[in-house]
């Protein structure tokens, strides 16, 4: 399959009811690894991720991919902050994206069982997804996103409200996915998590992309006062 990257954002802007939520933002996403979006609450991280994934309509600017629309949509996945659980079993939930793509029921279920085992849900295959714990739900959401072997995976604060064990497991799954060739773009509030996972960091404040830098550079020599203040734990107004 042709690579959908680079993704080029040219002055994208999102406005709702006359209020600017994001932009103008320009950025090029390419290569491999994990890019982490950081910034205080309301800085536009979720909106930015949703815009790149195509589920948030942009008000201005341009988004360009290296491939055509159907291929681009098939080659990416999104994990939401509050995992969306379907009224299905764990097995059928993970198999669902494959079934949408016309994969046979048997093949989809077999792939789902493999992914459930990989994310530690092998013993919960027949359980309804809705009754899983918070950490298990997020693992299911990850398995459902990765079962299609996406080239690009967006995650919106996937470890928010999870305990240390679940966070560790999810970070491990993400690193494995990255090693397997999936490009990851993820938002997080957790500076420690960003230090553990990031190859590069994007820092957003008030809907604007203030910094893009390799991890080490951002954490040791932030280029903006806002970035430095954020790392110090100061409130950004």
């Amino acid at each position: 399959m042709q690579s959908i990257l680079p993704l080029t954002l040219e002055d994208i802007e999102i406005r709702r009811n006359g209020k600017r939520l994001l932009g103008p933002v320009s950025w090029v996403l390419d290569g491999a690894g994990i890019s982490i979006l950081m910034g205080p609450n309301g800085s536009g991280k979720t909106t930015f991720l949703r815009a790149m994934h195509g589920i948030e309509r942009i008000s201005g600017g341009r988004i360009r991919w290296a491939a055509q629309a159907p291929e681009v949509q098939q080659a990416q996945a999104f994990v939401f902050q509050a995992p969306i659980m379907m009224r299905r079993t764990v097995r059928d939930s993970i198999a669902y994206p494959l079934r949408l793509r016309g994969v046979s029921r048997a093949q989809a279920r077999s792939a789902a069982e493999e992914w459930a085992a990989r994310v530690g849900l092998g013993a919960a295959l027949a359980r309804p997804a809705m009754v899983l714990s918070g950490g298990e739900k997020q693992k299911l959401a990850l398995a459902r996103a990765l079962v299609t072997a996406p080239q690009l995976l967006f995650l919106d604060e996937p470890c928010a409200n999870l305990d240390g064990r679940a966070t560790h497991d999810i970070e491990h799954i993400l690193q494995d996915a990255c090693k397997a060739g999936t490009r990851v773009v993820m938002s997080t509030h957790d500076i420690g998590q960003a230090r553990r996972l990031a190859d590069d960091v994007l820092f957003l404040h008030d809907g604007r992309l203030l910094e893009t830098a390799p991890k080490d550079q951002f954490f040791t020599r932030p280029a903006t006062p806002e970035g430095a203040a954020f790392l110090k734990g100061d409130l950004l107004l």
Binding site: I55, A77, I84, M86, R87, Y96, R127, P128, M130
Partner: protein
């Protein structure tokens, strides 16, 4: 006396009961085939006339059965556009009238249920690039237990309906007589014991079908939806 009659399993009584079930179950199934996808389609679609269609469906829930019966009668009568089919005073005509009465009810309740499910699923299904047909199919499948309420409401309305099926069925003995029309007839004749016995059967049927479907569908169980 009425209770004794009800449990006597008189041949004619059994035949009327079976016919009632046949007509209403057939009408409910057809109405569900139309109403459930219609409700889901309205939940996932956004177009200018959508609000008017929803308002119309809600209004049609209160459609007077007698008027439906009259319209179906005119359409199926010999001089009507479908007179050539010879359906008037047959169980098929009764099914048609019931489908018209039940469908808005099922579609409207389904729309309410599907709207809530769509609010939960929207981002996921858009993210997974599901087509509109796939979205509708997913909502109907995942909401199947919730949609049971819509189907049972449709069945309840159909099994107790008398005005429309009296007009289009004609209440003909051994042909189109069902429990409700038989009750109306026996009441008119002054045979209250038989009318009451038929009433008991009607209530028993409605309760039994509801309970049976709930048990078969395993609703109200902890881990299910």
């Amino acid at each position: 006396m009425a209770a004794k009659l009800a449990v006597s399993l008189d041949g004619e009584l059994v035949e009327i009961t079976i016919r009632s079930l046949q007509v209403t179950i057939t009408a409910t199934l057809i109405a569900a085939l139309i109403g459930l996808p219609l409700g889901a389609w309205l939940a996932v679609s956004r177009f200018p006339a959508r609000r008017y269609i929803i308002a119309l469906l809600n209004a049609l829930m209160g459609l007077p059965p007698v008027v439906v019966g009259l319209i179906v009668y005119i359409l199926l009568s010999r001089a009507g556009p479908f007179g050539v089919l010879g359906l008037l005073f047959t169980p098929t005509a009764m099914v048609i009238a019931q489908v018209i009465i039940i469908t808005p009810l099922i579609a409207s309740i389904a729309h309410q249920a599907m709207r809530e499910l769509w609010a939960d699923y929207r981002d996921l299904l858009i993210s997974l690039n599901a087509t509109r047909m796939q979205r509708i199919a997913t909502l109907v499948w995942d909401g199947r237990r919730t949609l049971l309420t819509a189907k049972l409401a449709g069945f309840g309305r159909g099994i107790g309906e008398v005005g429309a099926i009296m007009i289009v069925g004609g209440n003909i003995d051994n042909a189109t007589r069902v429990l409700t029309t038989a009750i109306a007839l026996e009441t008119g004749k002054g045979d209250f014991a038989l009318a009451l016995a038929l009433g008991f059967i009607l209530i028993g049927l409605a309760v039994a079908v509801n309970l049976g479907i709930h048990m078969l569908s395993r609703t109200e169980q902890g881990s299910l939806w």
